[in-house]
Amino acid sequence: MSQPNRLDSGGRIDRDRPVHFTFNGARLSGFVGDTLASALLANGVHMVGRSFKYHRPRGIVGSGAEEPNAIFQLDEGAHTVPNPRATQVELYDDLVARSVNCWPTLEHDIGVVNGWFSRLLPAGFYYKTFMWPRSLWMTYERYIRKAAGLGESPMAPDPDRYERRNAHCDVLVVGAGPAGLAAALAAGRGGARVILVDEQNEFGGSLLGSGDSIDGVAAGEWVGRITAELEAMEEVTLLPRTTAFGYHDANFVTLNQRLTHHQPVRARTGCRERTWRVRAAQVVLATGAIERTMVFGNNDRPGVMLASAVSTYINRYAVLPGRQAVVFGNNDAIYRTALDLAAAGADVRAVVDSRRDAGGQWRSAAVERGVPVKAGCVVSRASGGRHVRAAEIYRLGDDGLGEAEDVIQCDLLAVSGGFSPAVHLHAQSGGRPVFDDARLCFVPGTSVQAERSAGAARAVFDLAGCLSDGAAAGAAAAREAGFDAGTVPEFDTAVVAGSPVEAMWLVPDRVAPGRGPKQFVDLQNDTSASDILLAAREGYRSIEHVKRYTALGFGTDQGKTGNINGMAILAGALGQSLADTGTTTFRPNYTPVTFGAIAARDVGPELFDPVRRTAMHDWHVENGAKFEDVGQWKRPWYYPRSGESMRDAVNRECLAVRNRAGILDASTLGKIDIKGPDAAAFLNMIYTNAWNRLGIGRCRYGLMLGEDGMVMDDGVTTRLADDHFYMTTTTGGAARVLGWMEQWLQTEWPHMKVYFTSVTDHWAVMSIAGPESRKVVERVCEGIDFSSAAFPFMSMREGRAAGVPARVFRISFSGELAYEINVPANCAQHVWDAVIRAGSDFDMMPYGTEAMHVLRAEKGFIIVGQDTDGSMTPIDLGMDWIVSTKKDFLGRRSLSRSDCVRTGRKQLVGLKSRDGVTVLPEGAQLVNEPSDATPVPMVGHVTSSYFSAALGHPIALAVVKGGLTRMGGSVHACTLDGRRIECEITSPVFYDPQGERMKQ
């Protein structure tokens, strides 16, 4: 098992613990401590995928979150993960990875044809081509998605558990590189509660891949020392493998901690990821900097890598990504990498420095080492197909390229275009990054929240500077959080005099951009310099528009390596400064976060959206009920007997109520207990009718309007005592009505003495309806005289039901003689059983919400929210009888607004199909004359529609323009399958229009 690119010694890998894994079907090996990317490079695998649009071969470029190319489909089945960056995947046994962006295989790729036609695929190509005709968009989209081929989501339910945790701290330090470690140490020594997070498995950041020494020991050892000191501090929490991915208002920072990702799939137990929701008094952003690519021809060939990544692979993973190296850039990083390469035994054939006369100690060290330096030169093009083969080097002229300098064969081209501070979190916190002309990067601007950046995150790029900057930031944060930070820690490390970076956003070519080989800015989205220049030529000015037009920075990497180059190229084309061009918006998340981590335990029907069940739920289940969801409630819909259709069951249940007796679980009705000397006066304002003179023990139906005059809820309210009422609301409106009343009481009428208590869950309600219902309840209840004289319609009596204290209401939503027994929910099943036993002699049947709907529709009783839609007044509903003219109430003045009194408003009516058999579809539009010229004016719609077993024909409720004046006339209902059904406009009351049955 050879790893041809593995160095014999060094690195932070554990050579005693080999790890076996599979990439695109091949069995490979690495070591514990490797990332998937470092293991692939150790095995000599460079080419790992194909590009988004042109399907060009692509290799590993970076070593961390910035990686644009090496995104894979990881593992299989329910455990599969789409699009992780191989540079951030810790290697574990039996890991399975495959390339995503190639179809059918990596080696033989069909989409490469896109590359041959690349001239035909400029910026905005997909917009321009595929947006029209719109009917074909769906077809195109499927093709594009397959060809573009990012990873696939697992199809099986997620087998893992995710958690959420809230935390508070004094100082949150993001990033545990030199600046972050120093900051945490300073704040921790001061006694502050510190949380230190880093996205990697080990703390140390850039120190893990460097040959520096601090306080007289190697950087890696120093990291261990500092980490141990932090670990020993009681108030310090260390979170490796944790990404701060969002910075929100009020110093609220969200962290994603990965707990089991690094373990073999079969060995994983417990929580997979944890989302921390941290409120920090102070935040220190030590997020480091991201190296930029160099934009030149064929800069995407596998083997072209970021210089810092090359150094990291050598020093941290003991992997030498190439033997014959050219290093090219515009800053001192190229010399450091050249030294690392030389030390690792590579043949460094040239360091190509675009700066004409860079000095400094890094360059001197490289020259001393014998590395050939070509100053004032650039790599204008790379050549090679599936791997870089040579670098074409030109001297820089005064304006563009000068003469050809050399063509150097190489298998590794390390590039550095400078460093961009990771200002993402600062920008998310509300700060506006500003362009630093000297250091050629955006740096954090003025802090909006209690945060400060330190180290490379604010363009302090040298180690000594990072350490002291971090320590100062940590101490300052602790001080502002109220801690005496004492002496700021100091660290001893070599100060190296460098040479400043010089701008080289787009390397000149012999020909104009777009005519030569592609010069990529965004590798993941195949955005090239010529695309940006084309956008500028086509009139795009705003970087946000250019981003959307060219897809610059749109990938899963959010353009971490190339965005700034793209902005600079646009700025150049527009003849403006980078500061004027500005950045695109930095939005959460810094790196992708799984849906599982965001949802945490809020999954499934129980935990995401709680299910509410009535006290008699189990009985309904045992008796074969089909259920209907009403808000969060499960309500029995109907109780089919074996072999019975829904319609047959509902008909049977309806007829039982009309002819004998039925029982309905009505526990879900909203119930509000209203108490206080001003209770009646309050109800007068809330309801359209008057409540002062309602007798104790009497019930009254009420309509509630919004202040705009539109019906918002209804229900029966009962007076229990002079100062005590019991209100019922619709099942769905309970919370809204309580909130509505509380708002008016507190904000408008605080002088009123009245209290509201929600008692929806406290009382179970069983409604016994039908001509035999009196006999049933009489058998169950004690202490109540059920004679009509003693217990009239619309009144309430207290007594006992099956021995349980009960309130019995004589009210009816079916139009039949009916009683509602209210008992404490904890005793409800016992009472329900007793009522069922008592009803068996009368062939009483349980009925569900569907029969309830039919029964009430036969009576023309509305359901708020079904027959009303927020634009119906009581007058529209034909309910002017309930609207008091003698008092004010909420919504009253609106009823006389000009729009509410105009003719032609939609009004509630009944409809009967003239054919006597067709049940109209609910929601069907109504027209007067279907043969009229189109568009045929619509005059209303069907709101409720059922077959009435009691009447033997279909019935419907509808709203029709001016309907109340059109009784006996016709409208036509239009069905989706093209039928036009003629209907007679009738009164909405179909059954027992005099209302005698319920008063018997």
Partner: protein, 98 residues
């Protein structure tokens, strides 16, 4: 996510609160005295302030009390909270009740 200070419970997470629109809109004592336009003004029209805005909040997931707040609609920053009947912070600032 903001932190909001309930005048009764203290500082709590925004998720515990609900928004109630512009504050200090008093329901007319004699609605019948108003023309349609005046009533419509009370009903539908709000200031849509850019800057300091006096508005109602309710601690719906807590004590369920309504209160008023002065909040900057540009920065979202709360400049203060006050109970009903209280004058509130900075009565000379823009958006203060007349």
């Amino acid at each position: 996510m903001l932190k909001i200070k309930c005048p009764w419970c203290g500082e709590r997470d925004q998720s515990e609160f609900s928004y109630g629109g512009e504050a200090h809109i008093v329901r007319p004592a004699e609605p019948d005295e108003l023309g349609d336009e005046q009533w419509g003004d009370y009903l539908f029209f709000r200031t849509n302030t850019k800057g300091l805005h006096r508005e109602q909040w309710v601690h719906s997931g807590g004590c369920r009390r309504w209160f008023n707040a002065v909040r900057d609609t540009v920065s979202y920053r709360f400049h203060g909270v006050y109970r009903h009947g209280e004058e509130g912070p900075g009565k000379d600032e823009p958006g203060s009740p007349s």
